[in-house]
């Protein structure tokens, strides 16, 4: 078994971690996931140790991807670890290309081996050596992005809940804005639209990394999703549920009028 594969071929969670395998399955099912490659935990470990052969192997796979890159950790660990390690393991957005990947992989390796990660593992009773796979994808540079729950995570109601903001989805995920809030019925009817207060947006920088920018005053409280885009998101929710089952937590982005699926995982808590 190769330690580096196209994302579409990632199928072994013990090698590549649950995020990589989940995205690989999404690609195999025809969902709109940005192209990428999956790196095993062992390869990430070798690259972090500056093993020249591993560095060259990864570069050969990654060079064909259009930069800049999104480099996301994919925990290779106990069942359900990806969800429980959310916030512990690093994701690096806008890595310029294959040449900068080694230091990005090193940072991600250390995020899984940091003091805070160890403290967390001790608290939840995990004493095994951390292993972290990585997903490297072409970075989507979105106009709008956010999260969608295919079932209301608070009330448990059978409806879609969408939270959206301008730019990269990190503004929503990290709670840096009050996002626009939408509720949709399963048939797509819009049940609620509440404009948020989106003062900042995360954007990619030309030389790598991201920057927090002020949003133009007229856009701060303007809804960032039109009804047609909500309908597309509802269709994506349908497809994700038909493939993975009910109650999904989806990260999505819209760039150049194309909707992308960035992550799809089970909702960790769904209503009463």
């Amino acid at each position: 078994m190769s330690e580096v594969v196209q994302l579409v071929d990632a199928s072994d969670t013990s090698l590549f971690g649950s995020k990589a395998v989940g995205l690989g399955q999404a690609l195999r099912d025809g969902l709109p996931v940005p192209p990428g490659v999956a790196l095993s935990g062992a390869v990430v470990d070798a690259v972090a140790g500056r093993d020249e052969q591993a560095i060259e192997q990864v570069a050969l796979w990654v060079r064909p991807l259009k930069g800049p890159l999104a480099v996301r950790s994919s925990a290779v660990d106990e069942d359900g670890a990806e969800a429980s390690f959310a916030g512990q393991h690093l994701t690096l957005l806008n890595v310029p290309g294959a040449d900068e990947l080694t230091s990005a992989l090193s940072e991600i390796w250390w995020s899984a081996n940091s003091d805070s990660a160890i403290t967390y593992r001790q608290r939840v009773g995990l004493f095994s050596r951390p292993s972290v796979g990585v997903v490297v994808q072409t970075l989507v540079n979105p106009e709008t992005a956010g999260v969608m729950f295919t079932r209301n995570p608070i009330t448990g109601a059978d409806e879609r809940v969408i939270e959206a903001s301008w730019g990269l989805g990190e503004a929503v995920v990290a709670g840096r804005v009050i996002p626009d809030h939408f509720r949709l019925a399963r048939d797509g009817e819009v049940l609620e639209r509440v404009a948020g207060h989106k003062k900042i947006a995360f954007r990619s920088l030309p030389d790598g990394g991201t920057v927090e920018q002020d949003v133009a005053p007229e856009l701060i409280e303007r809804l960032c999703l039109a009804d047609g885009q909500l309908a597309e998101l509802n269709l994506l929710a349908d497809r994700c549920e038909s493939i993975y089952g009910a109650a999904r937590d989806i990260e999505w982005a819209i760039a150049e009028k194309t909707l992308y699926l960035l992550q799809c995982r089970a909702v960790t808590r769904a209503g009463p």
Binding site: A48, G49, R50, D51, E52, S103, S106, E107, W109, W110, N113, S114, D115, S116, A117, I118, T119, Q122, R129, P130
Partner: protein
């Protein structure tokens, strides 16, 4: 490959009794880690995952919020983490761009488990440290 010079490891009290070959095996386990100026390297009270040697740059040590000393190239910190992954006893922040090499508890433990001689020498070093701290 990553690694740190054996001469640097020789200065670490925990490794004082190890020979060059044994130190070389430990040196190969290290991985580079970079910190930005101002970044917290380790936090007092946190669990401890790794032992670090400073490759370049400076770091400041704080205990209970009070500055205690400045660490420079070749200095090391956190070696007891390799044995018990216990609690950090100081906070260290990067005073400049800081490049360290670190080895984790998880990577160090198998080496000691496979090599009783290294383990025994480290036990002796620990006793020496313990006696010194008791003033014997």
């Amino acid at each position: 490959m990553s690694g740190v010079p054996v001469e640097v490891l020789k200065r670490v009290p925990l490794f004082a009794d190890l020979n060059a070959q044994e130190l070389e095996r430990i040196a190969r386990l290290f991985k580079e880690r970079r910190f930005s100026a101002g970044e917290t390297v380790i936090q007092q009270g946190s669990g401890a995952a790794a032992f670090f040697v400073i490759d370049s740059g400076e770091a400041t040590v704080f205990v209970d919020g009070k500055e205690r000393r400045v660490l420079k190239t070749g200095d090391s910190f956190g070696e007891l983490a390799l044995i018990d992954a216990g609690t950090r006893t100081a906070t260290i922040t990067a005073a400049s761009e800081l490049v360290c090499s670190g080895v984790t508890f998880w990577d160090f433990r198998p080496l000691v488990e496979e090599n009783g001689v290294i383990g025994w020498k480290m036990m002796q070093a620990l006793v020496t440290i313990f006696r010194a701290e008791r003033g014997e």
